[in-house]
Symmetry: C4
Subunit: 239 residues, 4 copies
């Protein structure tokens, strides 16, 4: 199989894993940048992530226009992906989800920070984007490239950004690591809540620790989790 085939197979599996790990329900989506054309990315047609198969994957340019829509309905919120790929050449994969733990932080403005080593890839502090600030009363969906660009600006150089009253966006240097960060962002959300309920003096990871963990989070390390999630989601694992 070609490199691209392998990647798109992984994209299908990623959809399934994110559903199985309760990061997405019927909503939420994951994309990858084209490995050979930096001006293209792949994302499924509009469908709950758990059902997505290879045939549902569609190619888009960075303005989020489909190369060939195959007559299918598309996700409304493609600008989340296009905005991030345009702003960040280093980003090779984007996830948008509404996993329950992230919502309380987004609507209170309370800052999320990593509480344990596996959660360090979320970054030292997670920014919060509020669509209302620039766009007023909307249905909160990221429908336009202007909204996508504004979100990407708030994301900055980091790996995660919360969206008030909506969910979050997670980006990464490769697909499996982006999935890894999305899963552990949700875990961090839950654990930080519990710790702060217990005591006002929470010791988060230091900046130095976050940097150290980022350095040692290797593909082999991520694969140990990926293999585990594949099996739980009833999907074959391929190194």
């Amino acid at each position: 199989m070609s490199k691209l085939d392998n990647l798109l197979n992984d994209l299908v599996i990623a959809n399934r894993i994110l559903a199985n790990e309760d990061v997405v329900d019927a909503y939420g989506h994951v994309s990858v940048r084209h490995p050979d054309r930096a001006d293209r990315f792949f994302l499924a047609r509009s469908l709950a992530p758990e059902f997505i198969t290879r045939d549902d994957i569609i190619e888009f340019n960075l303005e989020c226009e489909p190369i060939d829509a195959k007559g299918k309905q598309l996700y409304t919120e493609r600008p989340i992906h296009g905005g991030a790929y345009q702003a960040r050449p280093d980003v090779m994969s984007v996830i948008h989800n509404h996993s329950p733990g992230v919502i309380p932080y987004g609507i209170t403005g309370h800052k999320m920070k990593p509480v344990m080593h596996m959660c360090a890839t979320i970054g030292h502090e997670v920014p919060i984007w509020d669509q209302h600030q620039k766009f007023g009363d909307t249905d909160l969906l990221v429908r336009t490239m202007a909204q996508g660009h504004d979100l990407a600006k708030k994301l900055g150089k980091g790996g995660t950004c919360l969206m008030r009253g909506h969910g979050c966006v997670v980006v990464g240097p490769y697909l499996r690591r982006t999935v890894y960060t999305a899963v552990y962002l949700e875990l961090n959300a839950k654990l930080q809540m519990q710790a702060e309920a217990m005591s006002k003096k929470v010791r988060f990871l230091t900046k130095g620790e976050v940097t150290e963990v980022a350095k040692t989070t290797s593909p082999a390390n991520v694969n140990r989790a990926w293999e585990n999630w594949c099996r739980k989601a009833d999907r074959p694992y391929k190194e």
Copy 2:
């Protein structure tokens, strides 16, 4: 299949979905208004929702009397449904449930409000009905039409109403959207609790945002969730 057949098949599936998504346990029920006779509605005989099949569905008039009970035991709380259908010609489906998250709001009087876009169909603020106010010490079940009318009055023009020490009622313009609202009412209950434990300054959806989301919550949008719930509940999906 006729329009009515399709609707009753959907009603059977709705029962199963509500059980599978933990909105109902052995108790709770869902009904639909007759599509061709506004003075009739359909509801199952007394049975845990998960087991209900097409044969268990019974037709009622709006006073909650069965057209043909087929010798079966009926749900005691039919007046929840009849009361809502009488008061609200726009209501085409009614759900009564005791999903755990709604109970704490009903017994504290603490107001539930939407925390995220998918939960906007619960309305800008959820009213609370207390059977004790008008009816004194009862077993809390809505046994009479007088009680059903009183509950419908508190529901007003909205889509949801909590019932103190008991549960809630959810109504909607069509069955699948009513199920959608019932599922996300429970999610909102859990997330609002967590957010308020975290900070006193929660930013709920604005009135304008609630209106915008209501406008864009289309049947296609609802179907993405419905298809997902069908598969999780092992039931065929039909657009």
Copy 3:
């Protein structure tokens, strides 16, 4: 099948249901009084509830001595059952469990009260027994009839009693209703916690409401839940 056979079949199913509903894990047990001999009761040999079959059921006198132990190891805490049956001729079934929600109440002395209609059979206020008061430092297990009698005294005329640092005991007028109360005691524990975290002004069921619900909680009502639990636990339902 004889009345006794039916009852013992139900006892086997009750064990399975309690395990499946997470009321018991490897520990905890359920017994029934002999329907024709008030001085005898039935309880399984020492085994995790989920595995128990008809062959594991052993008959005991009210001093908790086995009529025929069949060479099997017995539960240490039989005096919980014997103590309740001796003190309360109306009690026909006893459950002892450590379901997680009840523990925080037992160790804080915080009173549990019913928050919703389905939980009313736990009684208007649940007493707490502390083995340490009378028996000092022990391994907290109810090993002697003296301990069993002391616990039964604290239980009084009610249906439930918490045991500090240990769990609870639930009694009832027939097996299925006792299981019903044990399941909804755990639900009440969780919901009361959440409500009290939300507001100091919780409206519990009134005494009058508790009495009304107790009156209308009929075997037919309990059977609706029992049938549902049977199916979830993969066991045949018999009315």
Copy 4:
């Protein structure tokens, strides 16, 4: 089968049980000391615990060097095991995990203490080790024997020790009891959180009670849980 064969089979089952009971996810590991050579222990190659089979088990000396690595990648954090076996001749099994409940205690410095009899084997008070104190900014993994020794020192004579921003270590006199303690450490973490949210006056087990429970926690007692966990994890039980 030889004593060693039986033990290694149990080690494989322990990995599976810990995954199934959510004590470990893709990370975390369990080891046993060689029953005939106190200077050796057994631990799997680097792999998510759920997949581990007999072939994945590797023998190590107490400096954590493999006797025969069979060309496989090894867990980085072997010094957690080697450190404990060197410091404590009585320790025959070691578990390292990141079960979610223990994290909030480790990062707040809030002391965990046993809330119920089944949790008494965690010890009267659980110490917390912070790798940062002696080793500064690291990726928080226990990579060197110096770190392993420092952790073992904090563990002291007890059965459990939390690791700030990372997880915990659990040790015991035999494998099944160590698994038992790891499972109930997580339960204790959750219940203590809830109790302390409910009231400032929590009655933990007394020192005398902890001692009494430790005395009566027999292998037969532990086996009741082990048998239950085996069945839930779809593994054969052997007494």
